[in-house]
């Protein structure tokens, strides 16, 4: 509720709809988090999972869903009775939705955790309608995945170095390439890896030429060789962005950008032409 302040009010928990006239009262909220967050305080059930034990919890839920009995007192720090209760609540739901964040994709096990969660959701669909959705941090994370998918067939981490698109997270993903020191030039577009990447990856970024397409001074621009400022999309220039549920929306231009500042699209078009001349 702090990273997406209006998510619960507008879309997920408190929103009143055709089937959920009473909003929050007609819904059950389960929060899985090692900490007692403000969101957890609002929940009907808080599964205070031990850090890095998400995989165990999901596996236990899948086992219970398949009718197995758990022969322990606790899984991942959670009493088995609570796990039975949660699985029962999920089965009885008319329409369930799992919203997940980086806790599931970045703790121990990485993408295998979400792989397991996808299996859980698939199996829950034998009983009821259930879906899952990543909580997108930036406004157009989903848009990139959509554009990339219709251009190459893969959502992100696409390697064109062999002349055709390859996709293998862990091999062709940015952080892993940086950690192995394989990258020799990086172009960073409207994001801040200097502040968010692991230390070793940032150390490699500091060693190689870095180009930043970025309107603000950030830790990443401080490491850059070239900074190309652009107009803010959605404030100073329009365009299309995809909401986290896959709905495309037209961003508006509200004010003029500072004089002489180009848009991202213009910068890439000019760059594309120059690259074409050099190759």
């Amino acid at each position: 509720m702090h990273a997406h302040p209006r998510h619960m009010g507008r879309y997920s928990v408190f929103a009143r709809g055709f089937f959920r006239e009473r909003g929050r009262k007609d819904r059950t909220v389960v929060v899985v988090d090692p900490r007692k967050t403000d969101t957890a305080k609002l929940a009907d059930l808080h599964l205070q999972v031990e850090p890095n034990k998400d995989y165990e919890l999901i596996s236990a839920m899948r086992a219970v869903l398949k009718g197995h009995e758990l022969n322990v007192d606790r899984v991942a720090g959670i009493p088995v009775d609570t796990i039975y209760a949660v699985v029962e609540a999920c089965k009885k739901a008319q329409f369930g939705q799992l919203y997940f964040g980086m806790g599931v994709t970045m703790s121990k096990g990485k993408h295998r955790i979400i792989d397991n969660a996808i299996c859980l959701i698939q199996e829950l669909n034998a009983y009821t309608k259930f879906g899952l959705m990543p909580m997108r941090g930036h406004y157009n994370v989903n848009g990139f995945n959509q554009v990339m998918s219709w251009l190459t067939g893969y959502p992100y981490a696409v390697d064109f170095s062999r002349g055709y698109p390859r996709y293998n997270p862990g091999e062709t993903s940015t952080i892993d390439l940086l950690l192995r020191g394989e990258v020799d030039v990086m172009m960073n577009i409207a994001s801040d890896p200097g502040a968010h990447f692991p230390q070793k990856a940032v150390e490699h970024i500091a060693r190689i030429p870095l180009i930043s397409i970025e309107p603000h001074q950030t830790p990443t621009t401080e490491l850059s060789n070239i900074v190309i400022p652009t107009a803010f999309t959605g404030v100073e220039v329009g365009g299309v962005a995809y909401r986290m549920d896959g709905v495309p929306l037209e961003l508006k231009k509200v004010v003029e950008p500072p004089e002489g500042v180009l848009t991202d699209e213009e910068v890439f078009k000019i760059m594309g032409k120059k690259i074409e001349e050099m190759l």
């Binding site: 990273a3 997406h4 302040p5 998510h7 941090g137 930036h138 994370v141 848009g143 554009v147 251009l151 959502p155 981490a157 064109f160 170095s161 062709t172 993903s173 940015t174 952080i175 394989e182 990258v183 030039v185 990086m186 172009m187 577009i189 994001s191 990447f197 500091a206 030429p209 603000h216 950030t218 621009t221 490491l223 060789n225 070239i226 900074v227 190309i228 400022p229 652009t230 999309t233 959605g234 365009g239 299309v240 962005a241 995809y242 986290m244 709905v247 929306l249 508006k252 509200v254 500072p258 004089e259 002489g260 991202d264 910068v267 890439f268 000019i270 760059m271 120059k274 690259i275 190759l279």
Partner: protein, 120 residues
């Protein structure tokens, strides 16, 4: 005169709330309605940081930046990318789909790895 721009889509998080009202006076944003605190800050430009309006360039990362024009900055960037063996294009999550498409085409042309913030 304060002008109200209605039904503005918020360009901050993946919720893309589309009911914002932005108050504009003399070409400057003076306030927002319906936005959450993060969205409000994005429009009001609060980040407390320095906004660049001209491209900057430097040979050595230990030197200070020198101001330059778009033509030279983009030319140098293009040269770095063309001469590299394995360039990575990363980010993309705070630009429009139209701009993303152009950048992916560049990535394909130069044989780069193209990745966005969903990777972390």
């Amino acid at each position: 005169m304060v002008k109200v721009v209605k039904n503005v889509v918020c360009p901050f998080c993946g919720c893309l709330c589309d009911d914002l009202e932005i108050l504009v006076e003399d070409g400057h944003i003076v306030g927002t309605k319906n936005a959450c605190r993060i969205g409000h800050a994005k429009f009001m430009h609060f980040e407390g940081s320095v906004r660049y309006t001209e491209p900057l360039i430097r040979e050595d990362k230990k030197e200070d930046f020198k101001k330059t024009d778009y033509d030279r900055a983009i030319e140098e960037a293009a040269r770095l990318l063309v001469e590299s063996k394995l360039p990575v294009l990363y980010g993309f999550s705070s630009i429009s789909c139209e701009a993303q498409r152009e950048a992916i085409m560049i990535g394909e042309r130069i044989g780069a790895v193209v990745d966005n913030t969903a990777t972390i």
